[in-house]
Subunit: 247 residues, 2 copies
């Protein structure tokens, strides 16, 4: 495969070198520069060669990373900007397109999708996402809480399976508690809930519980939470949402 | 990698051998039997070796395929049952777990996630899924239309980006028309809509349009439709949904 673009926005999937796509892997092997958040660079460190230049930065430095990647690409270097999961889901794809547009640069960008946390977490939990679902981030840094709340209510009322991203951090605890309260208004307290910490990484921890019993304190920013719909059930330590086949 | 299970439910991603995960690829290389719908077997035919046994069946034969895969696995064969996209999203994972449970078989199953059509389509459209989103199937074969309608209304009202699976077939045309009507009640007629036919395959076709103008007749069962939220816009032939960063 020949690299015909200068800037690749790459989803590395949940964070191991098995669940990454073959395309993402091959591009990462071939680019001259890789730009990413330090934890994500750590996830792919085994494939990095000595010839490759790496630019690492910390949390909340998204704009700085995108700018670095744009600058390298403008210099004619083949550059990959990485996101965990899928770069199009709360990842770097949107910001990169916005900044390239804002700076009126003529730069072709390839967005390479990855397996997002909802799908990776669902696979270890069983088959919770087998019907219509929503993906909602509980982080209110960039989104007003009232809008998040409205979406939680809509998801709960219309019986969507719901995956929560960024559910809880050391500084931000009330959103998950409130989300549970909203779901309890519409859904049985026994509704299955799956909690997956660090999906796909060595530290992965999987817990299957219910809306009523879910231990909020076990949830942090590296956790994905999946709340079943009214048909979901737990069997053999797996969450299953029936699609509707007559078994 | 050693295969330590007898039954693997594998997501092959959008349908090319680049966007498949490295894990899925390696397992498919090593199993003795691959079971799948004929179009999906076609997608991976280049990796199949002469030693491998292939079981193919047609549309709506999902239960038959799962039963075959279970039977092979019970005989001690290493077997992969494939789904396009992610097996946990309207795929084979749920049905397989349900049937294994129903038949009270002690069979360990590995579910191998894949890139689902929402994420694959988003990548070729730009970055439409950068905020909270829903995934809704318009097929009313297994789901009552009233429930689908309720979910469309909830998604439209709470300003979710919405991805439609199974949007329209030769026999089932009114659901997409109705979905558009529902969204037009809540969202600007200029809201961006992305239509991707056969994402990731040779026949891939990408169209960026609006709620008002979307050509319903261009949409079929191989198409993924993504409707933006109130903030989505079109720029340089890409759909961008801002996450909320101050550029």
């Amino acid at each position: 495969m020949k690299l015909n673009k200068n800037l690749y926005i790459i989803g590395i999937g949940p964070g191991n070198l098995s669940d990454i796509s073959r395309r993402a892997y091959q591009i990462l092997k071939k680019v001259e520069v890789i730009v990413g958040y330090k934890k994500y660079i750590e996830c792919i460190k085994e494939l990095i060669t000595e010839e490759q230049q790496i630019y690492i930065s910390g949390m909340r430095k998204e704009k700085e990373r995108v700018q670095k990647a744009i600058d390298y690409a403008k210099q004619g270097k083949k550059c990959a900007l990485i996101s965990s999961g899928d770069p199009g889901v709360y990842g770097m794809a949107g910001l990169a397109l916005e900044m390239v547009e804002d700076q009126k640069i003529n730069l072709k960008i390839d967005i390479v999708p990855g397996i997002t946390a909802a799908n990776a977490a669902a696979a270890v939990l069983g088959a919770p996402l087998m019907h219509d679902y929503t993906v909602i981030s509980l982080s209110d840094i960039l989104t007003p809480w009232n809008l998040i709340k409205k979406r939680l209510e809509a998801a709960a009322e219309a019986d969507f399976i719901t995956t929560l991203y960024n559910p809880r951090s050391s500084r931000r605890k009330k959103q998950l508690k409130k989300a549970r309260e909203i779901f309890l208004e519409y859904r049985n307290p026994e509704t299955p809930v799956g909690i997956v910490h660090s999906v796909g990484r060595d530290e992965e921890e999987v817990m299957i519980t219910t809306l009523k019993k879910m231990p909020l304190e076990k949830v942090d920013m590296l956790t994905t939470v999946i709340i079943g719909n009214s048909q979901s059930y737990i069997s053999n330590q797996k969450i299953i949402t029936p699609r509707g086949y007559n078994i």
